[in-house]
């Protein structure tokens, strides 16, 4: 199977088959992300399309020293979705967040080992850390909005997210080591 970087190089050269392969490989993740952040289906479809259109037009901008290809792509998709989300209703009250529970997370791919690992790792975090991460990652709330929602000082929210992400790194790294062995 061709590597992500090779696909991006070929896309940059105008290879449509490479673009299709890259789309098929990562469109489910992009769709899962943007459709969770953007409630309206047409908005999510637009975000999905514009994200991959950007890949087609700007694959040569990818810099391997910054991020691996799928992270570059998903960060790009999230940026577009959050721009849309936060631009749509800047003055609206914070949305009711139905972030995925530990049982719902990864529900789109029940057999996904990765989803299972993330679910378990989030479940091992202190609830205040997991909650802050869920509100940011799955609902698109900024640290200020999370602080407001949780009636918690901003600094506390930042600390919770930092510690939670660092703990997730340890847990997921350990899980991958177990998987690899």
């Amino acid at each position: 199977m061709m590597s992500d970087q090779d696909l991006l190089h070929r896309i940059a050269a105008g290879d449509r088959s490479a673009f299709t392969a890259f789309y098929d490989r990562y469109a489910p993740r992009v769709w899962g992300l943007v459709s969770r952040l953007l409630r309206r289906r047409e908005d999510a479809e637009d975000a999905l399309q514009t994200t991959f259109w950007h890949v087609w037009r700007s694959a040569a901008q990818y810099d391997a020293t910054r991020a691996r290809p799928e992270v570059w792509l998903l960060l790009l998709a999230r940026c577009r979705a959050l721009d849309h989300l936060r631009r749509q209703k800047p003055a609206a009250p914070l949305p009711e967040v139905d972030f995925p529970s530990r049982y719902e997370l990864g529900g789109g791919l029940e057999q996904s080992e990765n989803a299972q690992q993330v679910r378990e790792a989030l479940g091992q975090l202190p609830e205040e850390q997991a909650s802050a991460i869920r509100l940011a990652f799955f609902a698109g709330l900024t640290h200020e909005q999370i602080a407001e929602r949780q009636a918690t000082p901003l600094g506390t929210v930042k600390t919770r997210i930092r510690r939670g992400m660092q703990r997730l790194r340890e847990l997921l790294g350990a899980a991958n080591e177990v998987t690899a062995s």
């Binding site: 940059a12 050269a13 299709t20 789309y23 098929d24 469109a27 489910p28 993740r29 769709w31 899962g32 992300l33 479809e45 999905l48 399309q49 991959f52 950007h54 037009r57 700007s58 694959a59 040569a60 810099d63 020293t65 910054r66 991020a67 691996r68 799928e70 992270v71 998903l74 960060l75 999230r78 940026c79 959050l82 721009d83 997370l105 990864g106 789109g108 791919l109 996904s112 990765n114 989803a115 993330v118 790792a121 802050a132 940011a136 990652f137 799955f138 709330l141 900024t142 640290h143 929210v157 930042k158 600390t159 997210i161 939670g164 992400m165 660092q166 997730l168 790194r169 997921l172 991958n176």
Partner: protein, 271 residues
């Protein structure tokens, strides 16, 4: 210390960034810092596996209609690209294999030195008219325009044409430019006001002596919500020898090195 936060903790900012908890402005600043702040890049890369795992955990089958639409769009773009004999991709940084810029010496045929001398005299005159005590861009623009009819003048004035982006649906204005002085002004009326922390306008100068994929950055600017004419001084980052087109795009705050031209607002073609 990076420019995006006065009390910047790379580990904390990277965690907030990966979690998606930064505002658009903060996220853009952090992304910019990855280019020149090794500490930020190191912290980000530590958390990259977490980002990948979180992103993968929300995977869902995408709608087939989007794939079909993209395939059609890409096929159409390929056709246009082939017709124009130039790729649509826009590499960032210093792209390899760019044709070398032709030096000015090639243009010095018979009489070339006379042209050069006339241009030099014109440039000196122009400098006098545009000397620093004329700090008001409107006055400087008027002074430059006043030079247009003088002998040896290379001052041009071109009206903007709208390029389809909604931000420019009511926009008009012009470009005034002198190649010998490497100075000019763009004037706008009716161009949508921007929120500088969300996006900015960026001017580009296309040069016949350069690859059209890599126009010269003419600087970023903002349009305030006050209405009326807005005049912006053109500040090209590189010398522009033979301008062919001026263009304005919408970019992330601070501008970009190479634009994808996804949001092209106005163009002014040099005839």
């Amino acid at each position: 210390m990076t420019p995006h936060a006065p009390h910047h903790d790379p580990a904390e900012t990277a965690a907030l960034y990966v979690a998606g908890a930064l505002t658009a402005e903060e996220a853009a600043a952090f992304e910019a810092s990855l280019a020149n702040d090794p500490a930020s890049l190191a912290e980000f890369r530590k958390l990259e596996p977490v980002a990948a795992a979180l992103f993968a955990s929300v995977s869902l089958p995408p709608p087939a209609a989007v794939r079909d639409a993209l395939e059609s769009r890409v096929a159409a773009d390929t056709t246009v690209r082939n017709a124009n004999r130039g790729p649509a991709v826009l590499p960032i940084g210093n792209p390899p294999g760019l044709p070398r810029r032709r030096t000015g010496w090639r243009w010095f045929g018979a009489g070339g030195w006379l042209v050069a001398a006339a241009s030099l005299l014109f440039a000196v005159g122009l400098w006098w008219h545009l000397r620093p005590n004329l700090s008001d861009p409107e006055k400087q623009r008027e002074a430059l325009l006043a030079m247009r009819d003088r002998q040896g003048s290379d001052v041009i004035q071109i009206d903007w044409a709208r390029a389809g982006d909604s931000a420019a649906k009511s926009a008009s204005g012009d470009v005034v430019w002198s190649t010998s002085a490497q100075k000019g002004f763009v004037r706008f009326r009716g161009l949508a006001a921007n929120a500088p922390g969300v996006y900015q306008y960026q001017l580009w100068l296309f040069d016949a002596d350069r690859d059209e994929r890599y126009p010269v950055d003419g600087g970023v600017f903002d349009i305030p919500p006050t209405g009326g004419d807005v005049i912006v001084s053109i500040t090209p980052k590189l010398r522009v020898g033979r301008p062919t087109l001026f263009a304005v795009t919408i970019e992330k705050p601070g501008g970009v090195v190479v634009s994808t031209r996804e949001r092209l607002t106005l163009v002014a073609k040099v005839l």
